[in-house]
Amino acid sequence: MVSVYSPGRHGLRTKLSGLTAKGRKWRINAGSDPVIKQRAISGPVPWVIAIMTALTVIAAAGGLALGSIAAAAGDELQGGVTVQIAGPPEAEAARQAQAVAALLADDPEIRALRRLDRDERAALIAPWLGDAGFDGEDADDNLLVLPELVEVQLTGEAGEDVLADLRSRVEAVAPDALVSADTSWLAPVGRAIEALQWLALSLVGLLALATLAAVLLASRSALNANRQVIELMHLLGAQDRQVAELFQRAAAVGAGVGGAAGFAVALAVVSGLAGRFEALGPGQSAAGLNPLHWAVLALIPIMVTLLAAVTARLTVLATLRRMV
């Protein structure tokens, strides 16, 4: 039975007239349920974000691992110089190598020095030529002359100036010597790795754009699907900001869940590949990734979540501005 309007047990008349907006932040949960259901807003966003995040993390991990491996290899070869004496008869080459070793033995800029013996030098060439050409017990019996090699480890970097100085001194006692920095051998590999790193970075950028596009399309689709409720909210006095926050929150939750799932999958993949990478790497940790790298990778789902939330908010605000 409809009764005549009266104050009621809570003093409705008084309370209603006293109800004012306190400017409090709009909450998505209207008591028991959100005004627009989370699933109705986020739609396929969690799935898309999960896939995008997994791919992004794997691409980023690849880029970071390659960089790490290149840096480690570079560090190992840093300051390394090889003196090679090739061309003269073996006895002469040996004499010059000995002279070089004697010259550099007491040099304060040289941390270590080692002249490779005949077997070590033969082993270096064996993968290409086998031992057919230099298997004679006497050097004169060999078909090929093995170059003499002296490994030098400088205390500092093998810069151009240092190398030039070293060359001039070495050539004085060993005119057939070739002095080269070990890092120069790595340069082509370094360039290839750098190219791969750029590729990985580009992939990360493209995936971020794809994520942005997916969230944008999902937000527009959700706006259209929930147009009636949004219109109702407007007519009841909702501000664009309040509607946008609903979508922003839903996108953030969806992207957060998807991002976490995607990150977990990527983690499993990267960890699974770690052993294989380790076999290639110069003694680094799993897949050449250090704790800082893992922290960077962990930031990806967080960034994706933020990106999704901001994209949803801006998309919704832009669309609402076209509504009455």
Partner: protein, 273 residues
């Protein structure tokens, strides 16, 4: 139809000064503040012909108005302009002293919160309970949960839905859904209450009960605009003014529309019989 002093034309419409039987009674009604002003308002959708043409009137604070007219006359379009769901193609609209046409989009929500709307199709949020549907305008206004619980429960009792507090709209009858829609429209104590055919889908008894709800709000100072075809309902609300739309125009170009004279102070229906 008799002339009305509370639904009157703007300048240029001829007004009602000195004309009709209500001339001497005007001053009392006009003392009330005009909260809605339409001036030469036209509305067209796309490139179609105008659904509303040259509509001019004023609505006064605390009055009860019926909006009637045949189907397709433009009643719903006029109401949409009233509750800011639509912008006019031409003309001027003033709500609560604000220019509703030129006003900034960001300023509209504050104005909309002063207007309660009962939609023809109820527009209840299907997955929300009766309580949450009614509480929605308060939540949008940022009212804390603890402050709204009592008033919302009182409102639920007031519309006789205490038994259905936690029910979803789909489980309610048409009349019950209508009452939820009314409760949601009035929970914020709006200055203006607009209802589009609120009794169109309910039986006569329920229609009378719903009218009592609107009347109660009107007695508390809310200006009520109720679109209806139901003549018997209009007869029941004796102090109401009537606006009649025909083919997108108020059928009295002077704005002098029916207002039962017995609704004026100091007289009774019998005095005018």
């Amino acid at each position: 139809m008799q002339a009305s002093s509370s639904v009157e034309g703007f300048a240029g419409s001829g007004g009602i000064s000195g004309s009709g039987p209500m001339g001497p009674r005007r001053s009392g009604s006009n003392a009330r503040e005009a909260i809605v002003r339409f001036e030469n308002v036209g509305l067209r959708y796309g490139t179609e012909r105008e659904v509303l043409s040259d509509v001019s009137f004023q609505l006064h604070k605390g009055r009860f108005y019926f909006l009637t007219g045949p189907s397709g006359a433009g009643k719903t379009s006029l109401l949409k302009l009233l509750y800011l769901a639509q912008s006019p193609s031409r003309g001027a609209i003033s709500l609560f002293g604000e220019d509703a046409v030129a006003m900034d989009r960001a300023a509209r929500p504050a104005l909309r919160r002063r207007i309660g709307v009962v939609f023809q199709d109820f527009r209840l949020v299907g997955h929300l309970t009766v309580y949450d549907n009614i509480a929605l305008p308060l939540r949008l206004a940022g009212v804390p949960e603890e402050e709204m619980a009592g008033p919302v429960d009182d409102m639920i009792d007031w519309v006789g839905l205490g038994h259905a507090r936690d029910a979803r709209p789909e489980t309610l009858s048409g009349g019950e859904q209508q009452r939820v829609a009314i409760a949601r429209a009035v929970i914020t104590r709006p200055d203006l209450l607009v209802a589009d055919e609120p009794t169109g889908n309910v039986d006569p008894d329920m229609a009378i009960r719903l009218l009592k709800l609107f009347s109660a709000m009107n007695r508390l100072g809310t200006t009520v605009v109720l679109a209806t075809h139901d003549m018997s309902l209009m007869e029941r609300q004796k102090d109401a003014s009537v606006m009649r739309l025909v083919r997108g125009r108020l059928d009295d170009p002077t704005g002098a529309l029916r207002n039962p004279p017995w609704s004026w102070g100091g007289s009774s229906r019998e005095d005018w019989a």
